[in-house]
Symmetry: C2
Subunit: 306 residues, 2 copies
């Protein structure tokens, strides 16, 4: 039975590329039938990466069958996985997020979580000497995952392991790292085709803070004027999103990759309080600029206070 | 602040030795202050191992303080750890059991779970080339952990990695592997000093099966006549243990290491049904011999049916 390898439900570059990389390793190197699948439509950057490296777009599935053999990469959070995930036969978990609890396995399996910026960096490490056998497209996917998750090494989640590996891969592939990263970020910034609700949910995770549930959404972009130009309608749409998704507030951070700052939309007094208490900011109008804030995992979530 | 390294609450050889090994690695090789601690009195085999390799007995602690830096080895089960474990600062988890869910970390950390027989085997792998720097006592602890968890390679949990490492360590230490394993098992079998309740709880884990809670206890021994000679009073004591520990039944398996079989005590019809349904056994009296059954993890738990 072919093993399905997948990441989380809102596939960004790491959650699209890492399943492709690991399924290649399992099937081509370990001789274990495996295929990457996606739990949703890849974002515009991930779609660009598939196209650039001529990688087949993995099939999109909306669930897993009980007993089906699966490998989970880039998350350990049941909320970001299909409802019946614990009924599947989870064979391996490879991730770089904090342990949230909730996933269960039938027996002892391989679990590897490392505090690096990118799942693909862990995959490279796990491959050992076999990494040298990666074809160009797989190396390209790996490079893309690292550039995406580190925002070209600007994110404070970046480790020496991520950076060294990406630089080695770029040299090896004959790719101008900065030029390629700019192309990727331009693809990610091309969000004009999305509705307000789609933008809010595109890269979003729910967290409980002080008894309230926040949908913490991040839009990483080199063209902040696109989402910020739609500020008013985005804030109006937050109400609907909250009702539909069972959240109290949406915190939408527009991360300007090049200026290395985030703009948080402030639709009401609750979010104003959160912004002031969490980031020591002074909020005057309907948004606030937070210099240096790039990472939800490392800077936003640990700071959130109500 | 010194990192506390510990295993589960009923310290056997692996849960005593692995904290010692990893605290040595952290403090002596990585330069990070770390100390092994125990969450209970080590069993007789673990006490023998400490004595044999002249290792200091780690301090026994009964809890962890909020925010205290800790490394957890040989379990990922909150039920086998102090109540406030998720309030501690969990820095790393290294284990070889199935993921049960429930542990949470504040940020991304190192988590390594591998389906091998023994935590110490994983520790050796994680050390890489630094393993060569282990002093004799640490090597002795590592050898002991593997011999204990594999029952000298008789347990079906044994992998080639466990076996090869133990054989290499024994050669390196100039230890006769089989003779040393026999000494360890003799120490483990010397349980005459313990009360019935202590015997039942010595190596025991709670599992829910078909709506009932079972305390699944294992006594690995080369002298099964010691516990089996106390069959009647052990079965009487099971009632008290069930009441005190919130369990419905005790399943006590006396594992004969040398004959490679388990004897399950059958105090009542519920346990009789479990024995017959789970192991296809025919139960006539107050116990049943199960040939080949050695491992709770690999053979008992997966089979349990009500």
């Amino acid at each position: 039975m072919t093993i399905k390898v997948f990441g989380h439900m809102a596939p960004d570059t790491d959650s699209t590329g890492s399943p492709i990389i690991w399924a290649w390793y399992l099937s081509q190197i370990k001789g274990t039938p495996a295929a990457p699948v996606l739990l949703g439509e890849p974002n515009t950057e991930a779609a660009f990466v598939l196209d650039r490296w001529k990688l087949d777009k993995p099939a999109i599935v909306d669930g897993v069958e009980p007993g089906a053999p699966v490998v989970i990469v880039d998350t350990n959070n049941p909320a970001e996985l299909p409802a019946g995930i614990n009924d599947a036969d989870i064979l391996e978990i490879i991730d770089h997020h904090k342990l949230v609890g909730g996933l269960e396995t039938k027996g002892p399996i391989n679990i590897t979580v490392r505090p690096v910026a990118c799942t693909a960096t862990i995959l490279h490490d796990l491959m050992g000497a076999d990494a040298a056998k990666m074809p160009e497209a797989i190396k390209g996917a790996m490079l893309s995952c690292i550039l995406s998750d580190t925002l070209e090494f600007r994110s404070p989640t970046t480790t020496a392991a991520d950076r060294t590996l990406a630089e080695t891969l770029a040299t090896d592939l004959g790719v101008d790292l900065s030029a390629y990263a700019s192309e990727m970020f331009a693809a990610k910034s091309d969000v004009s085709a999305f509705s307000d609700a789609e933008l809010i949910r595109m890269d979003s995770k729910k967290f409980d803070v002080g008894g309230k549930t926040f949908r913490v959404s991040v839009l990483e972009t080199t063209a902040p004027e696109i989402p910020l130009g739609r500020k008013a309608s985005l804030m109006e749409t937050m109400k609907t999103v909250c009702t539909e998704d069972g959240a109290d507030e949406v915190l939408l951070f527009v991360v300007d990759i090049l200026r290395e700052e985030a703009t948080l939309l402030v639709p009401n007094d609750v979010v104003k309080t959160v912004a002031e208490k969490s980031f020591g900011a002074t909020v005057a109008g309907d948004h606030v600029v937070l210099p240096g804030i790039m990472s939800r995992k490392k800077q936003i979530i640990p700071a959130l206070t109500l």
